[in-house]
């Protein structure tokens, strides 16, 4: 019964399922320990806060994970977040137009990243570093260093409002997560991403559209980063030039903790989202326990090392 639940020993799917259960177990353990240390932790209010805080990272990590699956890395996500928010809200008064414009910008930047990596054979690190800096320049040129700061109410509602008690941002994230999960696990494009990451040479010889695969991964990452940027400015309440700062590394960390391999071909949406939740929970715990904020970095670093060693041991088995 349990063996069935675990998806069979020695199978690829079984290994993936066990990794997700491991992450879920880890999340439950840290929540339980924190609850014992500080009963304030396990309240509906606090858990909802954690979920809302984790949501923007959740969008970004799904995209980052997909890029990592195709042996890439997207350093431009944080810059996309800020630029999409600053430009779209600055240029368009209409909220819906601004939203669509932000998504288009994310897709465009992702497309450029993907083009550079697939057609021009630039390493993902350099390609996305370059777009990150270019976007930063455009953003600062547009705002002349000081963005307006004001934000349409609709964005506030999207990020902090709720429908029947469930925060809007979570509804959107769960929807996006479902689609991404289905795409990766059960659709042709998702399978192509995973196979390409496993062995790009074989993918080419097996007739897969290798360039399209790579470009689509970066486009997905760009679009999700743009969405994350809008929700984050909505949550924070001001449009800032540095919105999303640090999300590029946090998202890479969460993707890896969530089971994505930097060698490509491996990753899951559920794992990535759980890892994002674990990261944000730990940040929250650091605050709840009254530790200084610098501890968040220590926690993050330790967690990455932990994940790396656990996964390496598991691959060796």
């Amino acid at each position: 019964m349990i063996a069935q639940l675990l998806g069979g020993k020695g199978t690829v799917r079984g290994r993936k399922t066990r990794e997700i259960l491991l992450l879920l177990g880890f999340l439950i353990v840290i929540w339980a320990v924190t609850t014992v240390l500080s009963p304030r932790f396990l309240s509906v209010k606090n858990i909802t806060d954690i979920l809302i805080q984790a949501a923007p990272l959740g969008f970004v990590v799904i995209g980052q994970m997909i890029v990592i699956v195709v042996r890439g890395l997207d350093l431009s996500v944080a810059s996309i977040m800020a630029t999409a928010a600053v430009l779209s809200i600055g240029v368009f008064d209409n909220t819906a137009t601004a939203f669509v414009a932000a998504l288009l910008l994310g897709a465009l930047v992702g497309g450029v990243n993907g083009y550079l990596v697939s057609y021009r054979r630039v390493t993902p690190f350099l390609a996305t570093l370059a777009t990150m800096i270019v976007l930063q320049g455009i953003r600062f040129a547009y705002t002349k260093g000081a963005p307006s700061g004001s934000l349409p109410d609709a964005f506030r509602f999207l990020a902090t409002g709720d429908i029947g008690g469930v925060p809007v941002v979570l509804i959107v994230l769960i929807g996006v997560g479902f689609v991404a999960h289905w795409m990766l696990e059960r659709s042709v494009p998702g399978r192509q991403l995973l196979l390409y990451g496993d062995n790009p040479e074989t993918a080419y010889m097996a007739g897969l559209p290798v360039k399209r695969i790579v470009i689509s991964a970066y486009v997905i990452s760009g679009v999700l980063a743009a969405i994350a940027g809008l929700f984050l400015v909505g949550y924070v309440g001001i449009v800032d030039n540095w919105t999303g700062q640090g999300y590029e590394l946090d998202s890479i960390a969460a993707a890896v903790i969530g089971g994505a391999s930097l060698r490509g071909g491996k990753g899951s949406v559920i794992g990535a989202l759980l890892a994002a939740l674990i990261l944000v929970s730990l940040f929250n715990i650091v605050v709840i326990l009254g530790l200084s904020i610098e501890f968040q970095m220590v926690v993050k670093g330790v967690l990455i090392l932990l994940a790396a060693t656990v996964y390496i041991r598991r691959t060796r088995e």
Partner: protein, 506 residues
């Protein structure tokens, strides 16, 4: 005959209740080279590991110079003068030749530091002794696979060895490199070393070995001096049936039908010569020639994975802007030579590997059906008797031969009209080879046109209706019917060797 240097007596090995070897006697004699043959799983590697201290026997013992010994581990066997070159390389690519050869045995100066001058000199001496032309200071990553193999042999022989065991040493070598390896082996033999040569490539065994021992399912089925054997007798001992039975009857070259694949003046990048070819439905055409003669490059150029100038036409229609994806869509499929580099998705499951070229070919174009994939791949597993517990296992958990079967299954799933097969039975055991040959012939009868590239002459001779011999990128001869013989092919292929011959991997 002289007394054996190393011998196994009554060697038996059980893994659990599974008897892998039964009461085996095996002798290595100084100045002789004994071939150890058998199908995958016959027990060759187990026997080697028992004699070199990696496994301990369940019954029986090892004799060194007639005295029973127990090697507590591989190090003791090495100390006793038994050198082994395993299939997998143990060299480190960041180090130089000399550093690799004397790894962990570097000559030290008085301070205990590596004496680099002596290291270089010792290595140069050893390489010269072995007739290996390599600079001790070259980093290993700059060497070809064949040269790395030479380093591996030098490493095995750095301390005075009396017995050298080579486990499938030629799997990655080209013909010319194999010749070089064989020269070295003959020299060692003449110097009085006892050699064991593990391989299932019969051509090589007959070329370099003096004795043969055939294992089948853990028993010695036949053993003796090589002069008493021919191909047929060895295969019969390996699989229990005759070689001729491996190949289905030929149908003869097709002449009536219009060609499905036509090449005109096709010139592979880097080659001066060009090629014309018509491939008709129902025929199996062999592409023979030494490694480096341009066979693989030609197939890649047709398939669209390498550049080529000239015309390729599919059923008369000019096929420009070739890519693997377009080729597959047009019914042209290719099996590549190098499974690891571009045949496998190593971490993906058997089912995923199997379905990779036919994603979305079902009713729903976007959604996958894992159950359908599993069912289809299970049918291939049954048809080719692939040894696997579950099609959800990663393909890297399978042996090379079983991986190859899955890849052939993937290829046929496309229902191709034209098949380009580069070394289709590499690493596959004889029983499965027979199954693959039967499948190919059946496909041909159903109207598929097949182009086979193979280094195993026996395969080309047994399987093909028509053979083109290649040299330096050009077709130098076409053989038909009874004219297709090993000698006939070799005579044309090897003529004027050295005229621009290149190893395949540069």
């Amino acid at each position: 005959m002289a007394d054996p240097v190393l011998a196994a007596r009554g060697m038996t090995k059980l893994f659990g209740s599974n008897e892998v070897l039964r009461n085996i006697d095996f002798e290595v004699i100084a100045g002789r080279n004994i071939a150890l043959c058998g199908e995958n799983g016959a027990g060759k590697s187990t026997l080697i590991k028992l004699m070199t201290g990696i496994y301990t026997p369940s019954a029986g013992h090892v004799l060194l110079d007639g005295e029973p010994v127990i090697f507590a581990g591989p190090k003791e066997a090495i100390a006793a003068g038994i050198a082994v070159v395993h299939q997998e390389f143990s060299t480190i690519s960041a180090l130089t030749v000399a550093e690799n050869v004397f790894l962990e045995k570097e000559p030290r100066d008085r301070l205990g530091l590596v004496d680099r001058r002596r290291l270089r000199r010792d290595c140069a001496d050893l390489l010269q002794q072995l007739g290996i032309d390599l600079d001790p200071d070259t980093p290993l990553e700059r060497l070809s696979v064949a040269e790395a193999q030479m380093v591996e042999i030098a490493k095995a022989l750095r301390s005075r060895a009396r017995v050298l065991i080579l486990d499938e040493p030629t799997a990655v070598l080209s013909h010319r490199e194999i010749d070089h390896l064989f020269r070295i082996l003959r020299d060692l033999r003449n110097q009085g070393m006892g050699l064991v040569y593990v391989s299932h490539r019969l051509d090589e065994i007959f070329e370099v070995c003096t004795d043969i021992c055939v294992l089948k399912d853990g028993d010695v089925t036949s053993a003796g001096p090589i002069e008493d054997y021919d191909h047929d007798r060895v295969v019969a001992a390996m699989v229990g049936r005759r070689l001729g039975e491996l190949f289905p009857p030929k149908s003869g070259p097709a002449t009536g039908a219009a060609p499905v694949l036509s090449l005109r003046d096709l010139k592979v990048e880097g080659s001066a010569a060009s090629v014309d070819l018509d491939l008709r439905p129902g025929e199996i055409v062999g592409l023979s020639g030494l490694v480096g003669s341009g066979r693989t490059e030609l197939a890649l150029a047709i398939f669209g994975a390498a550049r080529g100038a000239g015309t390729v036409a599919l059923s008369g229609a000019n096929y420009r802007k070739r890519t693997p994806g377009r080729s597959l869509a047009g019914g042209l499929a290719m099996l590549t030579e190098d499974r690891k580099a571009n045949g496998l998705f190593p971490d993906a499951s058997v089912a995923w590997n199997f379905a990779a070229s036919t994603l979305g070919k079902g009713a729903r174009a976007l959604a996958l059906s894992p159950r359908d994939e599993e069912e289809r791949s299970r049918s291939v597993v049954e048809r080719f008797s692939v040894v696997v517990d579950h099609v959800g296992q990663p393909i890297s958990a399978l042996s090379g031969g079983n991986q190859q079967k899955v890849l052939i299954g993937r290829l046929l799933e496309n229902a191709p009209k034209i098949l380009l097969l580069d070394e289709p039975t590499r690493g596959v055991d004889v029983a499965t080879k027979a199954e693959i040959y039967r499948t190919l012939r059946r496909l041909a009868r159903d109207g598929v046109a097949i182009l086979v590239i193979s280094s195993e002459l026996i395969e080309v001779v047994g399987l093909c209706d028509r053979v083109h011999v290649m040299r330096d990128g050009a077709f130098v001869a076409e053989l038909l019917g009874d004219a297709i013989t090993e000698d006939g092919i070799m005579a044309v292929a090897a003529a004027a060797t050295g005229g621009g011959m290149r190893p395949s991997h540069d």
